[in-house]
């Protein structure tokens, strides 16, 4: 029954399964003359790259248009954001692995396409955009630290792929989530699961697995976590400084270090120049140490104050206790504080009240704990630290929000229902043998 089901599902859901390619006699290699070559001009003004060459495995040719589209978009946007790349020809080569330590070859973009590639899962486009970004970060600008080049390329591709997804499907998002079956042979895009650029787009899951990863460790298995952490740091900068300031900084870095080597300190100084502020407080912690950021709302208490009157009515006292559980500090400035005053206001704290009012306070994030007290005409509903999700390096975002009451059933019930149904499905599947 299971075998029949798998077979029928395969034929119904993946029509491509019927179009079997002839089996080759030897392994397909990029240098193999069986790679299909497609040449496409890039008819866009102000772009250094003039032509695009796709060298694809015969069974991946069906994705040539998608790859070319992603390449065009990437080259156009990177040129606009970072400045022109003088590579006259860009060759996208299928089946090549990105070399572990060597810088990317000039004009060569390695990708690993797959025969089955769901239309709304953008993993293919992400590979193309990432590879082309490396022509700037690591190619045009030699980057001393691998993680910085990887992180910048990862961040850049997340922006490009979001644009492509938005244009193709008219939805703001990065990609649909994907699951893989049969030992990763069969991918399936889940229509309900829309990934965001700031999470799925920069592979935040890899960062979450190893938040204290040593960025300079040479271990190749750590590379995804290093890349994700660096990309999360750059995205944090984007959210803190704003895209225009960050983009100015990236463009300035490309201009300053074109044909030269850029260090993390050079990058920090360049971004600081572009944003007209000192960013060493962030770079010293995010890039130079393995310390982690973890801020939380540790307590939220709201009680009626019988002896007080707010706006002529009842008054409620709300106490919010903030916590810092990681050693890294997101302060906003390198200027040391002068007690009792804080220095910096990088972290926002928002308290929402039952009457619809909100209060936003700021914290320099240095102390291990801080208590805020509000007197308001309504009890507090919830408190959030970093409500705009600026600090993407925060290792635990679950403790960033606290409700005064219990979690409303309807907020989490869809997950409970899905999980219960899935467990029932599991029971019936294993029940086949019993």
């Amino acid at each position: 029954m299971v075998a029949t089901a798998i077979g029928v599902l395969g034929v119904l859901a993946w029509p491509g399964l019927r179009a079997q390619e002839p089996r080759p006699d030897k392994p397909a290699q990029p240098s193999d003359d069986r790679l299909v070559e497609r040449r496409q001009p890039l008819d866009m003004e102000g772009i250094g790259t003039r032509s695009l060459v796709l060298r694809l495995q015969p069974d991946h040719v069906q994705y040539a248009d998608r790859i070319a589209d992603a390449a065009r978009e990437s080259v156009a946007l990177y040129t606009e954001w970072f400045g022109p790349n003088p590579t006259p020809e860009l060759a996208i080569v299928d089946g090549l692995a990105q070399p572990a330590s060597a810088p990317p070859a000039r004009g060569v973009v390695p990708i690993q396409a797959r025969w089955l590639q769901p239309e709304r899962s953008m993993t293919l486009e992400a590979q193309v955009a990432r590879g082309i970004a490396r022509q700037w970060w690591g190619g045009l600008v030699a980057v001393e630290d691998r993680f910085l080049a990887d992180g910048l390329a990862e961040y850049a591709q997340s922006r490009v792929v979001e644009r492509i997804f938005d244009r193709r499907f008219q939805r703001l998002g990065y990609s649909l989530g994907q699951v893989e079956w049969m030992d990763r042979a069969i991918p399936w895009a889940i229509r309900a699961v829309l990934l965001e650029r700031s999470t799925g787009g920069i592979d935040r899951a890899s960062f979450r697995q190893r938040p204290a990863v040593d960025l300079r460790a040479a271990d190749e298995t750590l590379r995804p976590a290093q890349t994700a952490k660096a990309a999360a740091a750059v995205t944090t900068l984007e959210r803190y400084l704003g895209w225009p300031a960050l983009q100015r900084g990236l463009q300035l870095a490309c201009r300053r270090f074109s044909g030269a080597t850029m260090t993390v300190n050079d990058f920090a100084a360049t971004l600081g120049d572009a944003a007209d502020r000192d960013l060493s407080w962030f770079f010293d912690q995010a890039f130079a140490t393995s310390e982690v950021y973890d801020y939380s709302i540790d307590e939220l208490l709201t009680t009626r104050a019988p002896d007080e009157f707010c706006s002529g009515g009842d008054c409620f006292v709300t106490t919010v206790v903030l916590g810092r559980h990681g050693n890294a500090e997101f302060t906003g400035t390198s200027q040391p504080p002068t007690p009792p005053f804080e220095s910096g206001r990088a972290l926002a704290v928002q308290v929402d009240f039952e009457n619809g009012q909100s209060a936003v306070s700021h914290w320099d994030g240095r102390a291990v704990s801080k208590t805020l007290v509000y007197h308001a005409p309504a009890p507090a509903k919830e408190a959030r630290i970093d409500p705009a999700e600026v600090l993407l390096l925060d290792v635990n975002r679950l403790n960033n929000r606290r409700l005064a009451a219990r979690v409303p059933v309807r907020q989490v019930a869809p997950w409970t229902v899905r999980w219960v149904t899935w467990v029932q499905q599991s029971m019936l599947t294993y029940g086949l043998l019993f």
Binding site: M1, V2, A3, T4, A5, I6, G7, V8, L9, L12, A13, L17, Q20, E21, R23, P24, D25, Q57, P58, W115, L116, V179, M182, D183, A185, I190, R191, A192, V193, A205, R208, E382, N396, R397, L398, R401, V407, V409, R410, Q411, V412, P414, W415, V417, R418, W419, V420, T421, W422, V423, Q424, Q425, S426, M427, L428, T429, G431, L432, L433, F434
Partner: protein, 309 residues
């Protein structure tokens, strides 16, 4: 023709026993309900939706889900995107074929269900064989009488599954897969993987059929487990095509059912349904799937009866 006739009459017999279906369905709910309540209590609040999305049903936030699963030691540890929509129906089948055990809360629920399910088989088979009301007392007596033998068969079933997972599977997806895909293109490798999965699935199906017929023999002929397995093997060897045709027919219908379940996601609003629709669609799928399982049992009983003349 005998197989097709057995499929139709067996399914009708199963549908004529709605209390059996209701009982089995309730069993799945009773087993999973405590874990569901524990999960509901364990889940922290998800990030609030943006103002633009506030009115629409909440779209799954996978970053939040991943964070919850990573930090949980309870049922929430098994949360993943694979439980969303049609993936939730295919994921257990994929795990079953891959020999991957589910996380402990799910494994515990599955084990509890299988224990109770095995104990109920006696009554189910007697009711489907009679194709008329036999009364709760007779069902209970049959279940009670056959429980020991059916449980032994369940243990044999597990051992057979483990043996196939540890012997045939590594061979198929190790040396055989390597041999077939050496120097091949990606598409060929995928097709080989699908083909070998079907071969392995077919071996599990054959084993499942032997156990099903052994269970029927154990209940209806009051045979000991070893004798029941011998009788089932004899029966399957005498009528291999009919036995396979019955199983394949229900497998095909199951595949269509999963396809239809998946198609719901393409209906406008179907990918992120409202809570009531989410419950309705999911539970309807479970009921239909249970109907098919009971229908298969009914068809097997009809085929056996037909063969006995």
């Amino acid at each position: 023709m005998a197989a097709l006739s057995a499929c139709v009459t067996g399914f009708i017999a199963a549908m004529r026993a709605p209390w059996i279906l209701a009982g089995c369905y309730l069993l799945t709910l009773v087993v999973v309900a405590p874990l569901g309540v524990a999960l509901q209590r364990e889940l922290p609040p998800p990030p609030p939706p943006s103002a633009a999305d506030a009115a629409a049903p909440q779209r799954p936030n996978i970053d939040w889900l991943d964070e919850v699963a990573m930090r949980s030691t309870g049922p929430a540890a098994s949360l993943s995107p694979a439980i969303v929509g049609v993936a939730g129906a295919i994921d257990p089948v994929d795990r079953f074929l891959d020999g991957r055990l589910p996380e402990w809360p799910v494994a515990a629920a599955v084990a509890a269900f299988l224990l109770a399910w095995s104990a109920m088989w006696g009554g189910i088979i007697v009711r489907l064989d009679a194709n008329r009301r036999v009364g709760w007392r007779n069902c209970w007596t049959a279940s009670h009488r056959a429980a020991g033998g059916v449980l032994v068969l369940a243990v044999v079933g597990i051992l057979g599954y483990v043996a196939l997972s540890l012997s045939l599977r590594p061979v198929l997806f190790g040396p055989v897969y390597q041999l077939l895909t050496r120097g091949s293109l990606d598409s060929t490798a995928v097709l080989c993987r699908v083909g070998l999965t079907m071969v392995y699935g077919a071996s599990l199906m054959v084993w499942g059929q032997v156990l099903d017929y052994a269970r029927i023999e154990a209940v209806l002929d009051a045979r000991r487990p070893a004798d029941a397995i011998r009788a089932a093997l004899r029966f399957a060897a005498q009528r291999p095509w009919a036995v396979m045709a019955v199983a394949t027919t229900f497998g095909f219908v199951f595949a269509l059912l999963v396809g239809a379940y998946g198609a719901v996601e393409f209906v406008p609003g179907g990918s992120v349904p409202r809570l009531s629709r989410l419950i309705l669609i999911g539970q309807a799928m479970i009921v239909v799937r249970l109907s098919l399982r009971l229908g298969l049992a009914g068809a097997q009983i009809r085929l056996r009866r037909h063969s006995l003349g």
